[in-house]
Amino acid sequence: MANAVTQPVRAAGFGRRLAARARGGELQQFILRRIGQTILVLFCVATVTFFLVRLTGDPVKAMLPPTATEAQEEALRQQLGLGRPLLVQYLSYLDGIIHLDFGQSLFFHVPAFGLILQRMPATIELAAGAMVFALIVAIPAGIVAAVKRGTAADSSVVAAVLVGQSTPAFFVGILLILVFAVTVHWLPASGIGGITHLILPSITLGLYSMAMIARLLRSSLIDVLGEDYIRTARSKGLSRLQVIRDHGLQNAALPVVTIIGLEVGSLLGGAILTEQVFAWPGVGRLTVEAITNRDFPLMQAIVLFLSMIFVGANLVVDLAYAFLDPRVRLS
């Protein structure tokens, strides 16, 4: 209840500070600088990717059967625009990006960016499912382990964390499929569909995040529970549950939330093995296909897209920090 009173006051103060900074043009300058840096990073990514993918092989050879003649190969190369000088290809690629045209997939004959966007819902669904699973399991597990430190409960959580972090997705995935789909027939073995299809891949993908979050929450909570203010809270007569909930957890959550943020990023970045085992049609599978086919435009678009997600998220975080803490702008 106390929060409800303090919040508007704090917000008003914050607003005043912000206005003061904006007047000086300091913040504006910072924002411009960060946006400039972001564009530079994306430009570098685009350039490096463009040249790197061309070291991986020849898409025309991947596409044609071995019986193709040299003339047929050359004709297809010209048609696909891969016969032009490298510099010309590069400039036309940059020109495309400026106009938000990320090129046409050589294999699928459709715009590369469209292919990625088609796969995003599946990737987001799986990432969200994995994160939900991770949180549902990790938060209680971490709390129990910290509070019951040194007991059998703690040891089991630590052991489970160890297993979770060290078992590869293809093994866990197949194990889950064999138990839940083949043996007891509770859940489907693979593919995308309803919530039943989401459960096994979410567990497989979320296992690592779950282990990481549980471990971090445990150690963070153990640290916090040793603080003076916890003793004070106890001594003023709060119940154990209240102490953990209102004083312990709120403080221990800070590093955990940072990790959750980072994990969401990596879950979105692709879950190649999980997608492979569960035949999940996400961005990870598309990435593998693009690489296998030496599909240059698609590889470029995927790398650029993922960079945009990461760089964009960074930019948002940085800008948010700048609002909150003037020290950031100085660095």
Partner: protein, 521 residues
């Protein structure tokens, strides 16, 4: 960064709130998508849906923008081709009821009357000519290369099409049994454009396209007005499951009825389950070792090359490495292919014979060499190297990823660095010339052998219009291949697939998934 977070508790609390919102969002998302689930479950439901798992998605549903077996398999169910392969691999009428070579530079096809595309557009000679010419147009960017000798196609009348050739090609009727022979609806294509057509293809085949979710599944339904034998199963679903173990698990749990694209080894996962059967039927993917006979060295001597053939125990390799799912080939041509000569027998394994030939050639204690292979064939390459080591030939195995291996074979061909490389060839035309042309004739890309007689025999195989003369050329070629041994001959591998026990279907040798003959229950 940790510190910054640490200074603001309120932010942390808000973030937890956001995570909670995520929980709600995902539940909602899952709830929404669950409404569309399980409509494709195969078992039960009047036995009307057949679900087939494939290891990779199609490249395009436009049949002229793909060149791989998987894409062709889907296209084969939606579209018709001019000719088709019968159960005994004979070349039978498809959309074309008959065909003949009017002169060396003209093939004439008579088109079946009364056939319609599923949107009602008539399939006539015009549609056939349009399809062939669209394929030949460089602007189509088709990866299909077999019709290289065709100049253009002309509709002579409503039911007759002439292929005008740049140079004679006796294999044309076989070449239009798949990729190049698919017929598309011209009016619809002109109206919709290629991009829209590829999203929702319309053909005249036994099945009609219903929907596709990329990298997940393709759904088809039976074409009630199909001109040929009506498909026995009403709904046909292709599920893309890249992992073999997952696909087999889906078979065991009843989610799919047929699993394709697996090895015999992988299929062992099924054990003795009475609900499933593993089938291993003849295929055409033929393995051999390409030898550099041009560069002077041991491999330039026929005795050495014969010695290598004697040294490799092919039947044992088939039994161990291939789990029995392959047949030894005497030369480069498997027995299901037109022109195969059964009088040419495979080399019989003999270490002593091999050693004797090596001594004759001046290498009594063998020599050191290299064997390049795709990482997918790692076990086989290692097995072969082990066999060669027994006669003193020390072959260092170099493995590269499959795509690099494939493009090395095409690119480097005569300049291929390695003295030996392991390679597989699939000639889906089922004509001997497909197994010979690019690896034998000395001016071709993958040839590393220069033999005047062999060069001439390839030309005969590629251009001779008299079938008996062609067959004779193929026989001569196989005798010459055995005698000169410019390759180490291995085997052609079976098509291995697993099915629910109540499914009846046999995979064609080409590996194309023509499902209209499949039956449930």
């Amino acid at each position: 960064m940790m510190k910054l977070w640490g200074t603001n508790r309120a932010r942390a609390v808000r973030s937890v709130g956001a995570a909670a919102a995520l929980v709600v969002a995902v539940s909602a998302l899952a709830a929404c998508s669950s409404s569309s689930s399980d409509s494709t479950k195969s078992s039960g439901a009047a036995n009307s849906t057949l679900t087939v798992s494939i290891a990779s998605d199609v490249v395009s549903l436009d049949p002229q923008l793909q060149g791989d077996l998987t894409s062709m398999s889907i296209a084969d169910n939606i579209f018709d081709t001019l000719t088709v392969r019968g159960a005994d691999n004979s070349l039978d009428p498809g959309l074309a009821t008959k065909w003949k070579q009017v002169n060396p530079l003209t093939w004439q096809f008579t088109i079946r009357k009364g056939v319609k595309f599923t949107d009602g557009e008539p399939l006539d000679a015009n549609a056939v000519a349009f399809s062939i010419n669209r394929l030949l147009d460089p602007a189509t960017k088709s990866p299909i290369v077999e019709l290289v000798n065709v100049k253009d196609a002309v509709a002579v009348d409503a039911n007759t099409v002439n292929f005008e050739m740049k140079s004679p090609d006796p294999v044309i009727p076989a070449k239009v049994s798949l990729f190049g022979g698919v017929v598309l609806p011209p009016k619809l294509l002109k109206k919709e454009g290629a991009a829209a057509f590829a999203q929702h293809p319309v053909g005249s085949g036994p099945y009609e396209f219903v929907s596709r979710q990329q990298d997940s599944q393709i759904t088809l339904k039976a074409n009630p007005d199909y001109w040929g034998p009506k498909p026995k199963v009403k709904n046909l679903v292709f599920k893309i499951i890249p992992d073999a173990a997952s696909a087999l698990a889906a078979l065991q749990s009843g989610e799919v009825d047929i699993v394709t694209g697996i090895t015999k080894d992988a299929a062992n996962q099924l054990g003795n389950n009475p609900d499933t059967t593993v089938k291993s039927t003849p295929g055409i993917r033929t393995y051999s070792i390409n030898l550099d006979t041009i560069t002077s060295g041991p491999l330039s001597k026929p005795e050495v090359r014969q010695a290598l053939n004697y040294a490799v125990d092919v039947p044992t390799l088939i039994k161990t490495v291939m789990a029995g799912a392959a047949q030894q080939t005497p030369t480069l041509i498997p027995d299901s292919v037109y022109g195969y000569d059964k009088s040419v027998k495979p080399f019989t394994y003999s270490v002593s014979k091999a050693k004797q030939l090596l001594s004759q050639a001046g290498y009594p204690s063998g020599f050191s060499t290299t064997l390049d292979a795709s990482s997918a064939d790692s076990a086989l390459a290692q097995g072969i190297a082990g066999e060669l080591a027994k006669v003193g030939v020390k072959a260092k195995v170099n493995l590269v990823d499959p795509q690099t291996a494939k493009s090395d074979v095409i690119t480097l061909n005569q300049r291929h660095d390695g003295a030996m490389y392991l390679v597989a060839n699939s000639g889906w035309t089922l004509d001997s010339v497909s197994f010979l042309q690019s690896v034998i004739k000395s001016d071709r890309r993958s040839s590393r052998w220069n033999n005047a007689e062999a060069n001439q025999l390839v030309v005969t195989g590629e251009t001779e219009t008299d079938p008996s003369k062609r067959l004779q050329a193929f026989s001569q070629m196989q005798t010459l291949l055995k005698d000169q041994a410019p390759f180490v001959y291995l085997f052609d591998i079976n098509n291995t697939y697993a099915m629910r026990s109540d499914v009846k279907w046999t995979m064609p040798v080409t590996g194309i998934l023509s499902m209209s003959s499949a039956q449930l229950g």
